[in-house]
Symmetry: C2
Subunit: 506 residues, 2 copies
Amino acid sequence: MGRLLSGLATMLLMLSGVQAAAVRDQVRNYRAAHEKEILEEFSALVAMRNVATNVADVEGNAAAITQALNRRGFAARLLSAGPGTPPAIFGELKAAGARRTLVFYAHYDGQPAAQPEWRTQPWTPVVRVGTRAADSHDVDWRAAAKIDPEWRIYGRSSSDDKAPIQAMLTALDALKAAGRSPTVNIKVFYEGEEEQGSHHLADILRPNRELLKGDVFVLSDGPRHASGQMQVFFGARGVAGLELTVYGPSRPLHSGHYGNWAPNPAVTLTHLLDALRDEEGHILISGFYDDVRALTPAEAAALAALPDVEAGLKQELALGRTEGSERLANSIARPALNVRGIRVGDVGEVAANVISTEARASIDFRLVPDQTPERVRERTEAFLRAHGWEVVNRDPDAATRAAHPRLVKAEWSLDYPGYRASMDAPATKAVVASIERAVGGPVLRIPMLGGSVPMHTFAAALDMPIVGVPLANYDNNQHGANENLRLQNLWDGIEIYAGLLTDLRW
Amino acid sequence: MGRLLSGLATMLLMLSGVQAAAVRDQVRNYRAAHEKEILEEFSALVAMRNVATNVADVEGNAAAITQALNRRGFAARLLSAGPGTPPAIFGELKAAGARRTLVFYAHYDGQPAAQPEWRTQPWTPVVRVGTRAADSHDVDWRAAAKIDPEWRIYGRSSSDDKAPIQAMLTALDALKAAGRSPTVNIKVFYEGEEEQGSHHLADILRPNRELLKGDVFVLSDGPRHASGQMQVFFGARGVAGLELTVYGPSRPLHSGHYGNWAPNPAVTLTHLLDALRDEEGHILISGFYDDVRALTPAEAAALAALPDVEAGLKQELALGRTEGSERLANSIARPALNVRGIRVGDVGEVAANVISTEARASIDFRLVPDQTPERVRERTEAFLRAHGWEVVNRDPDAATRAAHPRLVKAEWSLDYPGYRASMDAPATKAVVASIERAVGGPVLRIPMLGGSVPMHTFAAALDMPIVGVPLANYDNNQHGANENLRLQNLWDGIEIYAGLLTDLRW
C-alpha cells in the first residue's frame, strides 16, 4: 500500500512535470510570436515618470496599470492611506473551483534618477546591445527582424520593479491564447511608495487585511543571483535613512584668508563619518550589533550552498578589494551602513577656494532581525552625544551654531525592520517547486535578501507565508544610472509566473 | 644744523600732510558728485563673465579694460603667453618730471560662481541693503536720492579683484577734474589668470622685464583687516591645487545587495582625507612642515600687534569652535590643507541607494616660505604610497582598478610658492606713509596674507620691492556665493590710489 501510494505520487509528479512543460512551451511560443507587442506595452509602462515624491506621477502610473489589469479581467482599484499619499493597486481575478489564493506583490514606483551618468533619458526607454558605454549602442527593435534575448531595455524601473508587473500581464495573455485558465485565485498588490520607504504601507494594509487574505504572498522584487541562477528569498534586510548636516561658518569664507582657523565642514563631516564605520564595513556605533539575531544552522547552510560568484564579480566590477573578508552572501547577511552620497562645495573646474557653510551626507542603514529603525536611531544619536555632538533635527539658528563646537542635524527616515522567515512552510515550498519546474532546474534559497523590501511589514499585517521571487538580472544597475532589464529575464519571468498560476499544489 | 634739518623735515612732513588732505578732499568731492557714474562704469565691468577657463570671456574683459585705460590717456595693450591663454593688460602713463615709477597690479579674472546660494546672478550686478538673505533687499540705486556708502554691490569679482581697477580709473578722473596730474609714472599690470593659478604669469613676465621696470610694485588684491582697518601686506601664502578621485565598482551597485562587500568609494575617500589632516588643521603628511621658514621676531611682533577680531568674528560667523588654538593671524601664517569640496552620489531627496563608482575631493594647499608646490606634491604622493596607495594621474582602466586595493587619481595644479619680504624697504615704507596720510591714521602691517597672490612669481621675475594694498571689505564673500563690495571701500580705494599717484616720496 505504501509502495503503491509512493508510486502514485511519483507518477503524479511526473505527470505534473509533463503538464508544467506543456504550459511552458505554450507560453514560450506565445511570447516568441508577440515579443514586439510585449516590448511595446512594457516600454509604455517604463516611460512613465515614477518617483514617489511626486504623487501625481505615481498616480498616473497607477491609473495605467489599473487599466492594464482590468483589460485582463481583473477588478482593480486603488488603495490609499489618504489624499496626497502614493496609492497601492489592488486587483483580484478569481479562478473557478480554485482552492488556493496567491497574492502577488511588486512596486511600480522608482528611485530618483538624477545621476549624470545616464546615457539615455531615464524615462525614455531604449533597447541597447551591450552593457558598457564603450561597446553598446541603441537598436531599433521595432524594425529588427529578430529580438535578441541578450538585448536590454534601459530605463528607471525597467527592472526595479515594473518587470514583474509586465510578467503577470503577459503570462495571463499567454495562458488565454493557449485556452488555459489559472488554477489559483490571483490577487495583486502593487505598491507605489517602496523606494521612498513604504511609509504609508502599514496604513494601507491595516484596514484591508480581509481583502488581501490569501495562502501565500509572492513578492517579486530584487535581482536573480549573480550566477544568473533563479533564486527565492525568505527574508530581506530592513532599512533606515539618515541625512546628516554639519556646519561651518555662516557665510562662505575664502580658504586662504580663513583656512586653518574657521572650521571646515568638509573635514568635520569626514571625521564624523569615519567615527561611524571603518573601511571593512564594521559599524562603530556602540551597541549597534546587540540586537542582531544569529543565523540558524539551516540559514547558514543555505548561504554556504550558494555558488561562488566572488571572483567573477570582482573581475566584472574591477574591484581591487572587497570590504571585510567574507563571501558576498555572508557580508550582506550583516547590518550595513552605506554612505549614499556626500555634498560639500564643488570639485574640478568649478571648485572655488572657499570654506563652505555646511556639508551633507546621506546614509542608508541596512537592518537585520531583530534590529528596529527606532533603536538604531537611539543608538546612533546616543553615540554622537557621547562623542560631544549636539544633535538637532531641524536647521539650527545662528545662536545654536555658535553655542556648540560640534553640531549635527540628523534627519531620519525610519522605514522598517529586517525579516527572516522559516524556509520550510508548505506553501513556500510549493512555490519553489513550481518555479523549479518552470525553469527546469534547482533554484537557490536565500535566507535574507541584501536589499530591502518591506517583508516585515507584510508579515506583521498579513497572516500568510511570504516568499520572494525576483526576476531581474543581477547586473541591472538598480537604483543607479542606466538601470536595465535583460530581455531573457523578462521572458523567463513570464514563464515562471505562468507556472505559478497553473502549476502550484500543496 | 642737525636741529635745523630736523625742523625742516618736520615742516615738510606737515606741508605734505596738508597737501595730502587737500588732494583727498578734492577727490572726495569729485566722487560724491559722480557716484552714480562711477557705479555705472563699475557695474558694466562686473557684468562681464570672467572665469579664466573661458579665455573668450576673459578676452572680452581685457578689451573693455584696455579701452577704459586708453580713455584716461594710457597706451594700454595686451601681453600674452601665446594663443588660447588668458592675456594680461599692460598700460603706461608717464608724468612730466617724475622721478619714480609705480607698477600697479590687480587681476580681472574671477573664481567660478557655480554655488547655488547666489541670491542674484553672479554676473548681473545689483546693489543691496544689508548682507544676509533674511534682512537684505535690492535697491534701485539709479533712482535713489542718495547713495548709502554701507550699501554693497553684489557680483563675481566686485571685490576680487575688479575693485582696484575701478579705483585707479576713478582716481585719475578725480585728479583730472581737480586740475592735478600724477607726480609719478604709472604702469598697470592687470592679470587675467590669477584665479586659475597664474600658470602663464611667469611666461608673460619673463620677456617683459624691461617694460615692467619700476620702483615699487603695488599689488591690490585681498581684503582689508577684519577690524575694518586698512592694512598692507609684505607677503602671501602660495597655493597648489589637488583633485583626488578614488574608485568603487565599475558600475553603480544597489547598496542593499552589495553594501558591506563592494568597497564604498565615499568611505574610502573620507578615510583618505582624514589620513591627510586632522580637525585642528594639522597636516599629517610626513615631513610636510620641514620646509617651513620660521617667522622673524619683527614678523611675529607685527602679528602680535594686530587688533583682536576673533571674538567678534566667531559671533558674526556663528562658529562654535575654531581650528587649532591660535589667533586667526597666526593660524593663517601656517601652511593649510583646505578641502574645497567633496562629490559622491547624491544627498537628500535625490539620494539613491547605490554604491557609487567613484568619489572626488578638491583640495587647496596654502604654502608658506620655503615650501614649493613641487615638493608638496612629492611629499603627498610619497605619503600615499607609504600607506599602500597606488597613485595615478589619469583615469585608470578596469585592469588598473582591479589590480590595486587602494587606487587614487591625483591631479595637481602646481601654482606657486609663498612669499614674505622685508617690511623695511624704503619704497614700501613710503607707500605705507602715503596710505596713512590718505586714510588719516595708522595702517596695519601684515607679514603674509593668508590668501594667495603670486608675489613670489613677481619677486622672482621683477627686481623691485613689492607691497600689497588690499581695498575690499573683509566680509566680501570672496570666492563664495554673493561676493560683494561695500561702497565705502571703493570710495576709500579711490582716495588711497589718488594719494599714491600724487603724494609719494622717498
